[in-house]
């Protein structure tokens, strides 16, 4: 009996093309847009490239051999290249700066100076490079004043600057902020499973639809009906989220870390939460179907927004200012579960997220159950 209701429910749901669009195609299309709009933003925005600078080619510059050598060695092509230097006369350099093709102009006169158009990271690095030269000159002169004999050794030693940093990593994850958008998108897709849950409750309540009325008078036990309906909704939404994840991972190359089992568990928890959310709205709120759909769209959008769908920092802002909200918002829990799988080596935070998701689902299912059981209608 159970299988019978289940399989027919599956067929019913999957033939609802509109819902298939919203729950499967829409997230995929949105993911594609996201990918093209800012998929590579982190590398393009933050990645280091040698800084373009112009140097005014005047008499003073040509005479200052040391400084010239330093600049030349910094612009040598290779792994340690910091500068991309252009020699130009004063007018030419000014024009290059004005049109934005160099970040700053280095001038050598009585002292070394820098001209820029605006403050910024590249400009600050230019300043820092020039200061480094000035500071080294300071060090050398202060040492020579104390210990004149060291001059030759010292000059030999300056050539060989040591680096004093060593990159380590807490985990293998590259901290790419843009991943947050995609994790929030999966959260949105999971929450959209609520459409299937809502559709189920419409089709099972006698005052909501003719199907509901017919099914209410059928001799099948209500619990069977509700359970098999929910299972069908879950099966479809889980499959859809898997398709989305596969698309993200294999077509767009979004990274989820290497723990595939936990990723699947997150999808299960997300879809369960989504379907229960739909059940909850369908039973708890008693209005027309279109208003319920509106509430569903609005609330899932709001939750996804708070989880960082449109603005990735939002999730962090919420977690800092209203931590409770982060623990009861299913979208935030889902995206945070993906995030903690990707970033952390430990699973404590991951399991808190998953646990909260199941807890919230249980509460919503419980409320829908109370509303659905023993319903009596005066007239149908």
């Amino acid at each position: 009996m159970f299988m019978h209701v289940f399989s027919y429910r599956l067929k019913c749901l999957i033939r609802d093309k509109e819902l298939v669009f919203w729950t499967l195609l829409f997230p995929i299309v949105l993911a594609t847009f996201f990918y093209f709009a800012f998929g590579h933003l982190t590398t393009e925005l933050e990645g280091f490239e040698p800084i373009k600078a112009a140097v005014v080619d005047n008499e003073a510059y040509r005479r200052n051999t040391q400084f010239r050598q330093v600049l030349e060695s910094l612009s040598e092509e290779g792994k340690n290249q910091l500068l991309d230097l252009t020699l130009a006369d004063e007018d030419e350099a000014g024009r290059l700066l004005e049109e934005g093709s160099v970040a700053g102009i280095i001038t050598v006169g009585d002292e070394i100076g820098l001209t820029v158009k605006q403050s910024g990271l590249n400009q600050s690095i230019l300043k820092s490079i020039l200061e480094e030269y000035v500071h080294t000159v300071n060090t050398v002169s202060s040492i020579i004043s104390k210990n004149p004999g060291a001059v030759w050794q010292l000059i030999g030693d300056i050539q060989d600057r040591k680096t004093y940093t060593q990159q380590i990593s807490f985990s293998d994850a590259v901290p790419d902020t843009m991943l947050g958008h995609f994790y929030a998108l999966i959260a949105m897709a999971c929450l959209y499973s609520a459409f299937w849950g809502l559709r189920n409750t419409i089709d099972v309540q006698a005052d909501q639809s003719p199907q509901g009325a017919r099914r209410s008078v059928a001799p099948t036990h209500k619990l069977y009906v509700v359970l098999s309906d929910s299972l069908a909704a879950f099966a479809i939404s889980f499959l859809e989220v898997l398709v989305l994840i596969a698309y993200l991972a294999f077509v767009l190359g979004i990274s989820f870390g290497s723990q595939i089992g936990y990723v699947l568990l997150t999808c299960v928890a997300g879809c369960v939460a989504g379907v229960s959310f739909g059940n909850f709205i369908g039973t708890f709120i008693r209005t027309s179907e279109s208003v319920k759909t509106g509430i569903l769209i609005g609330s899932s959008m709001l939750m996804s927004f708070l989880a960082g769908l449109m603005w990735v920092d939002m999730k962090e802002v919420v977690a800092r200012n209203a931590p409770v909200l982060a623990y009861i918002n299913p979208a935030a829990l889902i995206s945070d579960a993906f995030y903690s799988l990707y970033v952390f080596d430990t699973h404590r935070r991951f399991f808190i997220n998953i646990g909260m998701l199941f807890l919230i689902s249980a509460v919503m299912c419980g409320i829908s159950f109370v509303h659905l059981r023993r319903e009596r209608y005066a007239s149908l």
């Binding site: 847009f33 933050e46 403050s119 690095i125 000035v134 080294t136 060090t139 680096t163 430990t346």
Partner: protein, 389 residues
Amino acid sequence: MQVFKAYFKVMRGSATFLAISLGIFMSLAILFSSIAPKTAADKFEPTKTPIAVINRDGDSQLARGLVDYLGKTARVILYPDDEEKLQDALFYRKVEYIAIIPPGFSDAFTAGEDTAIQKVIVPDSTSSHYVDMSIDRFFNAVRLHRLYGGEEDEASLVSAAMADLSSDIPVTIMSSGAGNDGSPPPESYYYQYCAYALLAMIITGVSSVMITFNEKDLYMRNLCAPLPKRSMNLQLAAGHGVFALGCWGMLVVGSFVLHSDTLLSSDLTGLYLLNTLVFAVVCTSIGFLIGSFVKSTGAQMGATNVIALGMSLLGGVFVPQSIMSKSVLAVAKFLPSYWYVLANNGISELSATFGDYLRPVFGSMLVQLGFALAIFAVTLLMSKEQKVS
């Protein structure tokens, strides 16, 4: 006038959706304009990268000297020595660099052994190079003093190095015509986001009414009414026009409410308004296209969302065009929203002297009108064929 009146009666059906779109847009506009950068630079401010310094080396002078020095060249944010919190902070860029002074670092350093500060960074990011430079500079200065300066104890090494590192080089800011720090003014962001609001509202409104009027039975009944078809179409067109103008008007009023101080005094306001009006025409044409071919409300919602979000995301409404990848931008040229944003950026970069700079702005507006014209023409042609068949 019946058709024109009926137009707005039908429109009332989508009023809730339109109000929600407008409400969401306005709240986002307020949110974003409140966080938009408002720095006007007349003097150079070196960037201070947010970093976290974790000192596991106890209370040594050298470690404390480094923290002091980094406090001057970067923005040190206090974090506990907790990996999870630090990783969180790095992922969301609360800090861009985590420097860990390992245990025994100062002893190894003063003994002349090879040792290093451990760093956790966004690999190969520009800001990490910037902080690397500060750290290397500090330790190289200390090293030279230790080797050749005859200093022995850590405190005097650190103070000698700090003295060397304190001098500054002069930075001049070359004033550009625009007289700002290069980031567009907040009202420009408002008009940029307007593209999404206009797309969502006008497409939904126009297509909803058209779907109703194109319903088969209703359409056939209207055909046998004594009202000439031309008059009916003209009234519908007038309805579209008035509705689009209304949406545009509401957004314009919103812009004056939020940015009245700058907009009322700026010469550029007229150009911003013209550009948005041109884009409203494009949106109307898209609404007309969808309304002519889509039959159900569900499909209409799907098409509207995909088009509005797609055009906004790919055209550079949500993500600035200057940082989008070149290949995406090349494709985005086929979207009217690209030209809208291009014109909007062009306007925001204009300064007091207009002259030749206006040409590209008007060019982008003309391209938008071209899109609108093309979409209208294609729709009319195709819908005529459809109706004949």
